[in-house]
């Protein structure tokens, strides 16, 4: 398993870093109002980065891949020259925390209000725990300095309440969903990746049941405007800016696949038989492409094992 972990980390970081020459896109998500700051989404290779800018300064959700950190910071600086006071990490994977170290070094020290890096405590634990057999040392810089262990943590910044909710055993065991309450924006991390199957990281505490519960929670937070459109905006871990409807589509896909595999398990089918039965056949063309990080077999296996399959 340890070997798998290090392989995973290398594959993820390597595959994504190889594309680090690609440009980043900056998308306005919510314009500033008299009360709230503005919210932007930076996307490209690596995980999406949420940026909130306002009169107090800058708050960033996730820092993307390490090699892209200078580019990401340059884009953030085009949005605001204000002090960066907060980084929130949605989870531990290197395409979301990879830029922490570089960001920490690029952000000038601020005695009045030093940079805080917020994450659920399992993120810190996993970032600082050496992985036996891995040549990659644990992170030393850019570690969460303001980890939380209760169901949620809240703060008020740039004129609005920001609530960081822990979603246990979803994509990993340290996932956070961030609600910008005034702006009506949710930053979902890799719980929601509308262009690909979820990566249910069993080795890091993820499960399909938790993934579904987390998506249901995001649906609870999201309120569409008229005719099931507009209203709450959802920034996914990867992929385009979404609304509630896309989360419904995604949640339903996972529930349907989970129900099918559960039914097959009840019939005593083995993993090989379940894979052969193609329980995701109607979703593969939508969620799997040549560049997909999660392939069909990997998703089916994660669901199978989450449901107790051996």
């Amino acid at each position: 398993m340890i070997f798998k972990l290090s392989i995973f980390t290398c594959l993820l970081a390597g595959a994504l870093a190889a594309q680090s020459d690609a440009e980043l896109q900056v998308l306005p998500v919510r314009l500033a109002s008299a009360a709230n700051g503005a919210i932007y989404m930076i996307s490209g290779d690596g995980g999406n980065i949420t940026v909130q800018v306002g009169s107090q300064g800058v708050l960033v959700v996730d820092t993307g891949l390490a090699p892209l950190a200078p580019k990401a910071m340059a884009e953030i600086r085009k949005l605001s020259k204000g002090p960066i006071h907060y980084i929130i990490n949605t989870h531990v994977h290197p395409d979301h925390v990879g830029g922490n170290e570089a960001f920490t070094k690029m952000i000038p020290p601020n005695r009045a209000q030093p940079l805080l890096i917020i994450a659920q405590e399992n993120v810190l634990n996993r970032m600082t725990t050496p992985v036996t057999g891995s040549t990659t040392p644990p992170y030393q810089i850019g570690l969460p300095s303001d980890e939380y262990f209760l169901p949620f943590k809240d703060l008020h910044y740039n004129g609005e309440a920001i609530i960081v909710y822990h979603e246990p055993k979803a994509h990993t065991d340290g996932d956070s969903v961030i609600l910008f309450r005034g702006s009506d924006v949710v930053s979902a991390g890799d719980i929601f990746t509308p262009d690909g199957y979820p990566f249910i990281d069993l080795e890091r505490g993820g499960s399909v049941q938790g993934e579904i519960a987390a998506l249901n929670f995001i649906l609870d937070l999201a309120v569409p405007a008229d005719k099931q459109e507009g209203g709450t905006l959802i920034i996914p871990g990867h992929g385009h800016l979404c609304e509630e409807a896309e989360v419904v589509e995604y949640r339903d896909m996972i529930v349907i696949v989970k129900d099918r595999i559960q039914d097959m398990l009840k019939k005593g089918m083995t993993l090989a038989q379940i894979k052969a039965a193609q329980p995701t056949i109607d979703y593969d063309t939508q969620y799997v492409s040549a560049n997909s990080f999660v392939k069909t077999d990997q998703f089916v296996e994660a669901v199978y094992k989450s449901l107790g399959g051996k």
Binding site: P224, K227, V248, V255, D259, I281, D282
Partner: protein, 303 residues
């Protein structure tokens, strides 16, 4: 003399631009859909598991087979949705088109469509603006731009939310690109819709609809509030597990069709498919479903 020459040159220079504007067709007005084509599918709605004539792949077919209409009653978020704008043009609601003109240049900037069903609004930009980046939010109407090809307006729509090709569970993905060709002949508007969907189609799906100008048309406001119609535990998604859908033969048996024909696929779009589609398993003694649908202006009933 010089002033006259300059004026003449200006007129000549402006001429082509003016022709471009005024040669364009004005689609503004209220339009009533005509159901000469595919009346039963469009008006009462398609039968379950009828995929005939759709160039779908195995993924779309499996999605349709798993579809349980209870999903709309249980998952409230499916209620109160407009159709995707590609399907809206095929629905049963009336259509109003207005034109926006730039006050300074007198150039048309956009057409706006208003569909009665869920009051769906769409803007078709004519000013050459680009489509948004891939990362931008999608909508039921999508983002549409139009260009003139003679008297025909060709519209390209992207950034659509996931919707359906047929209202029986056959999906259309958010990666689809929709091309429309609008032409007007007197009081008749003809819309040809071409859907390219790399996720669910093996070749483009092409459909046409006709509309008749109806200046006296009135649109009523539509309000809609989702409500749970079937109690179910949170997160329940009604579906037919593989191999358990009892309705897959229904449409074939009702209409005396070979099951193979109802399963869809590109081959079912073409006339030569008749040579290979086989025989029906059951032929009803008499028509007992939607027998007069659309005939002589009649409506559909189950007798």
């Amino acid at each position: 003399m010089k002033a006259r020459i300059a004026t003449l040159l200006c007129v000549l220079a402006l001429g082509p631009a003016n022709r471009l504007v005024f040669a364009q067709v004005d689609f503004s007005g209220s339009w009533n859909p005509l159901y000469h084509e595919d009346y039963p599918e469009r008006f009462p709605g398609p039968e379950l598991a009828d995929y005939a004539g759709l160039p779908i792949n195995a993924a779309a077919r499996a999605r349709g087979d798993a579809y349980d209409a209870d999903r709309i009653s249980v998952v409230m978020e499916y209620q109160c949705r407009p159709h995707g704008s590609d399907y809206s043009m095929r629905g049963s609601a009336n259509l109003r088109i207005t034109k926006d003109i730039d006050a300074e240049s007198e150039q048309p900037v956009s057409f706006k469509t208003h569909i009665g069903w869920m009051e769906e609004e769409r803007t078709i930009w004519l000013d050459g603006r680009p489509h948004p980046p891939d990362a931008a939010v999608h909508s039921w109407a999508g983002f549409s731009t139009g260009v003139w090809e003679g008297n025909m307006l060709t519209i390209t729509t992207t950034h659509l939310k996931p919707s359906y090709l047929r209202r029986n569970g056959i999906p259309r993905s958010d990666k689809a690109k929709v091309t429309e060709h609008w032409t007007r002949h007197g009081n008749i508007l003809t819309v040809i819709v071409v859907i390219d969907d790399p996720v669910f189609l093996t070749e483009p799906l092409i459909r046409s609809e006709n509309w008749m100008l109806d200046p006296g048309q009135e649109f009523l406001p539509q309000s809609c509030e989702p409500a749970p119609e079937i109690p179910a535990p949170k997160g329940t998604v009604p579906q037919h597990l593989p191999g358990t859908n009892p309705f897959l033969h229904e449409v074939a048996d009702w209409y005396g069709l070979p099951v193979k024909a109802t399963r869809g696929g590109p081959e079912t779009m073409y006339p030569e498919f008749r040579q290979t589609m086989g025989k029906p398993e059951r032929v009803p003694e008499k028509c007992d479903r939607y027998c007069t649908c659309g005939m002589n202006g009649g409506t559909c009933d189950l007798r």
